[in-house]
Each structure stands twice: as structure tokens, then as C-alpha cells.
């Protein structure tokens, strides 16, 4: 019953999306040419909008049907048979929706329909622009619904006898974060379709002015936030589950999520130049086009098996469909750009190298170079196979040598950018603004050497040293900006510095929210740099054996077993001492899932601000019967997760409306041909 319901819901959604696309296109064409049909174009566009809303209901019904099938153990559905079992806990049955290819595509279609639903409900903001965006979203939706209906149907039935129990969910996915990481990541991936649709729509209709950027700003930021959070949830999951002691392995699928994040971040910065000064229009259009195409490439890499990856949970032949869709999307983007290029003439040009605009430009170039590096490294094995007949591996050593310096450079620019004024800044003011950060960086550089860090000994130490020195530079630059603004407000209002800082943030949420995000990024980089000093030990440990790592002594208290309907587990009980005092007891374990006949490592971690004591129970040595433990001491990892939370908080601040607006009224007068009326500083 439910599989049939789900299948029909998907068919209905396909028909409704097709109608939204066709009717919407006809209506917009009629409006553009002035040649009307029997039905007024406004009414036709309204039917398209309503059809789009209805398509959301249909896709939601299909998603519900699949989740229902998982919860009711309907193993007649092939997808449920292969990704669930009776004893699977409830939250993971919910996660079944995105644990395989068909479900992931359904999740994509559902989230896209949900974004479209909200967009279509808010159409009164700008009816024509929203009609264009709605039609473009319908075209994307149509592609995914075609895949779901004809290529990868999630409700395909099992032929012959239906097994009594399912084959279970991949154990790697049976972890709490897996219930939120994929939806977050997909919200980010899918969400970039919305600013893409607005940008393409605005270009198609030759939207006057830059208001569309203000309309889409929140969409873009929310999407960026989801993608950022999704990426770091994935990193945290990898750290907690994969058991190799790291959080980022430069795996092709990880790279696939990073690429649209890099171009999306570049877009978020450079679009401010278009909004404020009518610059970089062509650049911005291509940035958002590229971001959208990279989200498709990411899904393609994850699902098609184009590159080898530990993440490619479901590989199939849908790659061809994705390549075709990416090709069509590119052609549509390029054609629209070529047709409307005259509309994208910049209103102004960058006037000075020492200006906020040029810092945005260089920030963009570095972000795009980073994106190119990741794309190049991800696709190089395929190029290598084509060019020299054998595949090579492009792994962490490559990215650490090539991408890390680019990242460090980018971080430094994060500190310089806010110190520069819009249009042009005087050398005197730049020097004055740089004084504090440079002094702080200099002191840090000396202190680190005094503290014992020797950057000349190896590559890792050199990068860590550079990152920490630049991090101090950027952090002080950002904090100086807060302090400067708060001091002015404090003088004006008589409030103390803390309250003035709060008021400052409320008055210009975008600017100070952005600074908070930058501060979060700096903290994340501080955490990344700690990996240069990771330590690890692996050895067999019997009862009451001791292992020393850094300041910790680990004592193996016992090794035991446990069982529940879903899995059997073996685990070690390790007492952790520091300076002779018991700090904590860790229980790393190894699980065996009978349904899928797979094992999974469950890491036990004692995290502090200084380091993580990360323990892995590797199982028993087959020859000696002794338990084997792998212990890592990873410095500063907690700073990464703290940095992410600060980024999230900063984005929330940047999304909030300004509560108090400061206005200085100056009589309008004709603008002179050159030179600024008043030195302009501030803004975003």
C-alpha cells in the first residue's frame, strides 16, 4: 500500500513540477514579449506557482511513505530491505531515508521542494523575480524527479520471497551525528539552488539595480551556514567513528563538499561589492553559477563512482544523467550570460590597491585558487589514467603541501581586509590600523620560539608556527575593530565597553556578525595547526598494563563484552591518570552488527582545550589473543569545534536585522566626477 502511495506521489510531483516549468516559462515569455495567449500571463504564472506548492506536498508524501516503510519494516521495498533491519533503533530508521542512493535523491528532491515551497509562499516580495526563480527551481526539481521515477526509484519492490529481516544499515552510519549531518549538508547543497535561481532569473529578466541581492542575501547566508555546519558535522563524525585519529582526510567526497563552500564563500564576499558599488557583476554571476554546478558535481562524485572514495556509499550508473544535466545547466548559464552581458556592466571600478574592494578581489582569487586546487587534486587520478594509463593517488600529502599555504594566505587576508576602507585608504590610516595586529603577531612569533617551537625543524612545525602568528594578527585586527567602535559608542552614550560592544553589534549586524565569523575561522585554523604535533602509540595491553602518552598514563582495567539486539560489542575499560590523579575512565569499543555482518569502531575521547586523548580499541591480536589499543594525543582539536560554534553564532548575528539604525544626514548634492566627498569607512 505505502510503496504504491509513494510511487504515485513521486509521479504526481513529476507532473506538477513539469507543469510549473512549462506554464511558468510560457507566462514569463508572454510577459517579456507582450504576446499574450488566451489566459492572461499573470494568471498562468499563478497556476504555475500553485502547482509548485502542490509539488512540495507530493514529494513530502513520498518521503513520508519511505520513512513509514522503514518504521514498519516493509522489506518488500528493496531500498528498505538493503538499508534497514528490525532491530535498528528508531532514529536510524529515520536516517535510512538518506543512507542509500535512491533515498538521498529523494531527500534532495524533498529539500529542494521545501525551499521552493517557502520561496513560492513569499512571492509577494517581488512577484516577477520570484516567478523566474520558481520556474528555474522547477527545472532542477524536474531533473531529480525524473531520476527518482525512472532511474533510481526508491519504492522498487523485491522480486520473489520477501526476507524476514533486512540487511541493516551501514554501521558507519549508526552514529547520532549521522542523523543530522547529511540533512545539514544537503540543506547546504540544495540551498545554493535558490541564490542560483535568483541570479539566473535576475539575469534573464535584466533585473534593474541590485535589489535582488538584498532579497537573496538571507537565502545565501542560511545556505552557507547549513553547508558549513554540515561539513564540520561530517568532520566530527569522521573523527568519532572512523578511528584513524583525524577529522579530514581529503577524501574526494569531503572535497566535493568543500568546493561549493569555497565558491559560495567567495560569492558571499564579492556580492557585497555589487550590492554597495555595482561592481564585479559578471564575476558574481559566474561565482554563483559555479557554486551550483559544483553542488551537482559533488553529488555526482558521491553517487556515480567517478572517483574512489571511502564515502561513496552507493555507486551506480546515474553519473551519465548528472553529466548531461550539468552540461545543460552550463549551456543555459553561458547562453544567458552571453545574451545579457550588456546588463552586467560595472557601475564603478576599483580605484586603489589599498581598498576594501581590492581585498575582496584578492580574497576571491585565493578562494577560487583553493577551489581549483581541490578540484584539480580530486580529478587528477582520472586525468592521470587518461594521460598515462594508470591511476595515481592524490591524498593528504598533496593537499597539505599545496592547499595549506593557500589557506594560510587566505587567513592573513582575513585580517587585512577589515582594516581597509571602501574606495581608497590612506597609507597613514593603514599603517595606524596595522600597528596593533603586527605588534601582537611579532610578540607571538617571539613567544612561540621562547616556548620551544622550532619552525625550521620540519614542515608541520613551520606551518603551525605561521598559522599561530597570523592567527594572532587577524584576531587582534578583528578585536581592535570591535574595540575602536565600542570606544566611540561608549564616548557617545556613556555606556561601558561591554554594553557598547553589544550595541555596536546590534547597530550593524552584518559587519560585526561577519567579524565574529572571521574570528571563528581563525580559531578553527588554530585548531587545525595543532595537528602538526599529533602523537600516537599502538600496542597490545593486558590487564593492568600501562601506557604513557604525553602527560597521561593509561591503565587497562578490564576488557569485556556486551550484546543488544542490534549489535555485539567488545570494549576496553581504561583508567586515565594525570600527575598520579585519576582523570577519567575511557571505554573504546568495537561493535559487530549481525544484520550487515560488519564491524565498527567506537572511539572514546577525553577532550580538553589543550588536547584530545583519543583511544581506539582495535580488537584482539589473532596470534596472541591480546587486546590491541591505539592511543592518540591530538592537540587543540577542541578549538576547531569551538570555532565552528562561533562561526554559527556570527552567522546568526549577521542574519539578524539591525535593531538600531545610526543615521547621519548630509544634504544631497551633485556628485563630483572624481574623489570622495568624505572618506568612507565601515560598512561590511
Amino acid at each position: 500500500m505505502m510503496p504504491a502511495f509513494g510511487s504515485y506521489a513521486l509521479l504526481l510531483a513529476l507532473a506538477l513540477s513539469a507543469y510549473t516549468l512549462v506554464a511558468g516559462s510560457i507566462a514569463l515569455r508572454q510577459l517579456a514579449t507582450g504576446r499574450y495567449g488566451r489566459l492572461a500571463p499573470e494568471r498562468l504564472a499563478e497556476t504555475a506557482r500553485r502547482s509548485g506548492i502542490a509539488s512540495f506536498v507530493a514529494v513530502a508524501a513520498a518521503a513520508f511513505a519511505l520513512i513509514w516503510a522503514a518504521f514498519t519494516n516493509d522489506f518488500s521495498v528493496s531500498y528498505i530491505l538493503h538499508h534497514s533491519n528490525r532491530d535498528l533503533p528508531g532514529p536510524y530508521k529515520f536516517a535510512t531515508l538518506w543512507s542509500g542512493q535512491e533515498g538521498s535523491l529523494l531527500l534532495w528532491a524533498f529539500l529542494l521542494a521545501a525551499y521552493g515551497f517557502v520561496l513560492r509562499l513569499r512571492h509577494r516580495t517581488d512577484v516577477k523575480l520570484f516567478a523566474y526563480a520558481s520556474t528555474i527551481l522547477a527545472a532542477i526539481q524536474l531533473f531529480f524527479l525524473m531520476l527518482l521515477n525512472f532511474v533510481a526509484p526508491p519504492f522498487a519492490l523485491v522480486g520473489g520471497t520477501i526476507p524476514a529481516d533486512g540487511f541493516g544499515l551501514n554501521p558507519l552510519l549508526q552514529y547520532p551525528e549521522m542523523v543530522i549531518h547529511p540533512p545539514m549538508l544537503y540543506l547546504g547543497y540544495v540551498g545554493f539552488s535558490v541564490p542560483f535561481a535568483f541570479a539566473l532569473g535576475a539575469l534573464m529578466m535584466r533585473y534593474p539595480g541590485e535589489k535582488w541581492i538584498q532579497i537573496t542575501r538571507r537565502w545565501t547566508m542560511v545556505t552557507w551556514l547549513f553547508l558549513t555546519f554540515g561539513i564540520f558535522l561530517g568532520a566530527h563524525w569522521a573523527y568519532s567513528v572512523l578511528g584513524w585519529g583525524g577529522y579530514w582526510g581529503w577524501d574526494p567526497v569531503e572535497n566535493a563538499s568543500l568546493m561549493p563552500w569555497l565558491t559560495g564563500t567567495a560569492f558571499l564576499h564579492s556580492v557585497m561589492m555589487q550590492e554597495k558599488r555595482g561592481m564585479m557583476k559578471k564575476w558574481n554571476v559566474w561565482l554563483i553559477f559555479s557554486t551550483f554546478l559544483l553542488t551537482l558535481l559533488g553529488t555526482d562524485l558521491t553517487r556515480s563512482g567517478l572517483v574512489q572514495s571511502v564515502h561513496a556509499f552507493a555507486q551506480s550508473s546515474i553519473g551519465g544523467w548528472f553529466h548531461a544535466f550539468m552540461g545543460i545547466s552550463f549551456v543555459v548559464c553561458a547562453y544567458t550570460f552571453w545574451r545579457q552581458r550588456a546588463h552586467l556592466t560595472a557601475d564603478h571600478q576599483i580605484e586603489s590597491l589599498a581598498s576594501r574592494e581590492s581585498s575582496f578581489l584578492f580574497n576571491n582569487i585565493i578562494l577560487l585558487a583553493a577551489c581549483f586546487t581541490v578540484l584539480w587534486g580530486t580529478l587528477f587520478p582520472i586525468l592521470s589514467e587518461y594521460a598515462q594509463g594508470n591511476r595515481v593517488t592524490v591524498g593528504p600529502p598533496f593537499y597539505n603541501r599545496v592547499a595549506v599555504p593557500i589557506g594560510v594566505f587566505l587567513m592573513m587576508l582575513t585580517g587585512v581586509g577589515p582594516l581597509l576602507a571602501w574606495r581608497t585608504g590612506s597609507l597613514r590610516s593603514i599603517r595606524r590600523n596595522l600597528a596593533r595586529p603586527v605588534t601582537a603577531a611579532g610578540i607571538t612569533a617571539v613567544l612561540l620560539v621562547v616556548w620551544g617551537l622550532r619552525p625550521w625543524t620540519d614542515e608541520g612545525s613551520f606551518y603551525a608556527y605561521t598559522v599561530w602568528v597570523f592567527a594572532m594578527f587577524v584576531a587582534v585586527a578583528i578585536l581592535s575593530e570591535f574595540l575602536r567602535g565600542a570606544q566611540v559608542l561608549s564616548r557617545q552614550t556613556g555606556r561601558n565597553l561591554l554594553r557598547s560592544t553589544l550595541l555596536l553589534c546590534q547597530r550593524n549586524t552584518r559587519r560585526y556578525g561577519g567579524y565574529i565569523i572571521h574570528l571563528g575561522v581563525v580559531i578553527i585554523f588554530i585548531g587545525f595547526a595543532g595537528s602538526a604535533f599529533n602523537q600516537s602509540q599502538e600496542r597490545e595491553m593486558g590487564f593492568h598494563d600501562r601506557m604513557q602518552i604525553g602527560p597521561y598514563t593509561l591503565v587497562a582495567e578490564s576488557f569485556t563484552q556486551d550484546s543488544n539486539p542490534n549489535y555485539d560489542s567488545e570494549y576496553a575499560l581504561l583508567d586515565v591518570y594525570r600527575h598520579g590523579k585519576l582523570v577519567t575512565t575511557l571505554t573504546p569499543s568495537k561493535r559487530f552488527y549481525p544484520a550487515s555482518q560488519q564491524t565498527e569502531t567506537i572511539v572514546a575521547n577525553h577532550s580538553t582545550l589543550a588536547w584530545d586523548l583519543y583511544t581506539v580499541y582495535a580488537g584482539k591480536n589473532a596470534d596472541t589473543g591480546q587486546p590491541v589499543l591505539k592511543i592518540f594525543l591530538n592537540p587543540l582539536v577542541a578549538w576547531i569545534w569551538i570555532g565552528v560554534l562561533i562561526v554559527v553564532a556570527g552567522t546568526a548575528v549577521a542574519l539578524a536585522p539591525n535593531r538600531i539604525t545610526a543615521t547621519v544626514s548630509v544634504e544631497a548634492r551633485p556628485r563630483p566626477a572624481q574623489g570622495s566627498l568624505l572618506p568612507v569607512s565601515g560598512g561590511d
Binding site: 598515462q388 593517488t393 566611540v488 590491541v628 572624481q674
Partner: protein
């Protein structure tokens, strides 16, 4: 005056380029300083290789107990090290024994060189291109301003002067 300006610009450029070159040199040196100790080299090298069992993990980080590939590969590495082979020879040896996918990054051979060259080349070219475009825009802006006869800035109105003074007062002269 023009020559003086050029020299000033050159000296500023040199002031920027010299520290940058020193930094690059330091990075190069730091990168080339190989670990001389065998244990250090063992750790460094096993992080430049991949386990070939299909787990797609760095050889030194393969956490599969009794992995059929990583254990013998690590033993080979230890043997190569004790036999006195240098790092490059060991990497070449592994590539020949276990295939090119056993190395975690491409060696600097023919086509593989492009893997290493392209990213920095793209970054440098993009930076140079941006600098050229910026220069062109600035010159274009100056030429336009001269053509419009806007060399002098119009005087501020009393309200603008007042606003400017107030801003300077409130920001302690920082703006």
C-alpha cells in the same frame, strides 16, 4: 618628480618582495629538511603511502587489525629503511612493487609534475592578472578624471564640514 615616484614605488615593491622571497625560501628549507633518524623517516614515509587493501587510508593510519596489506607493506618499509635506501628510492620501490596508487601523492615524474605545478601556477597567474587589471582600472580612472577636469575636489558644504568634524571628534580622529 616622476622618476622619484617610480623609485619610491620600486623600493616599496622591493620591500614587499624581499620578505616574501625570504618566507618562501624558509618554507622551502623547512620542507626539504628531511628527518635523518630512521624512526622519524619511517613515520614520515608511512604517511606518504596508502594502504592498498581498499580502505583508502594512509598506510601509517590504517587501523584494521590484521590488515592483509598494511602489515607487510610496513615491514617492507622497515626493511628498505634499514638497507640504507633514501626516501625517494623507497617511494619509487613502493610504486613499482604495489603500483602507483600505493603512494599518497604523485611523484615528480613527467605528467605527474603538472599535479604539483598547476595549483600554484594558477594562483600566481590569477594574482598577476588581478594586479594588471587593477592597474589598468586605476589608469583609466585617472585619465577619465583628467579629461573631466576634476583634478580638484569641490569644497565641502558647511553641513558636510560639520559632519566631518563631528565624526573626527567622535572617533578620536581615527576616521
Amino acid at each position: 618628480m616622476h622618476v622619484l615616484g617610480k623609485r619610491l614605488a620600486q623600493s616599496r615593491l622591493q620591500a614587499l618582495v624581499r620578505p616574501a622571497l625570504s618566507l618562501l625560501l624558509a618554507a622551502g628549507l623547512a620542507g626539504s629538511l628531511g628527518a635523518s633518524d630512521i624512526a622519524e623517516r619511517y613515520k614520515s614515509l608511512n604517511h606518504q603511502m596508502m594502504c592498498t587493501c581498499g580502505c583508502a587510508q594512509i598506510l601509517g593510519e590504517c587501523n584494521h587489525l590484521g590488515c592483509p596489506r598494511s602489515t607487510p607493506m610496513l615491514a617492507t618499509l622497515q626493511t628498505d629503511l634499514t638497507s640504507g635506501m633514501d626516501d625517494h628510492a623507497i617511494l619509487v620501490d613502493f610504486s613499482e612493487k604495489y603500483g602507483p596508487t600505493a603512494l599518497a601523492s604523485p611523484l615528480l615524474t613527467r605528467f605527474n609534475k603538472s599535479a604539483w605545478i598547476m595549483p600554484p601556477a594558477v594562483l600566481i597567474l590569477a594574482m598577476l592578472g588581478a594586479l594588471l587589471v587593477l592597474r589598468q582600472w586605476r589608469e583609466h580612472g585617472r585619465a577619465q578624471a583628467t579629461a573631466n577636469g576634476a583634478g580638484t575636489r569641490p569644497p565641502l558644504t558647511p553641513r558636510e564640514s560639520e559632519a566631518l568634524a563631528r565624526i573626527r571628534r567622535e572617533t578620536g580622529g581615527e576616521l
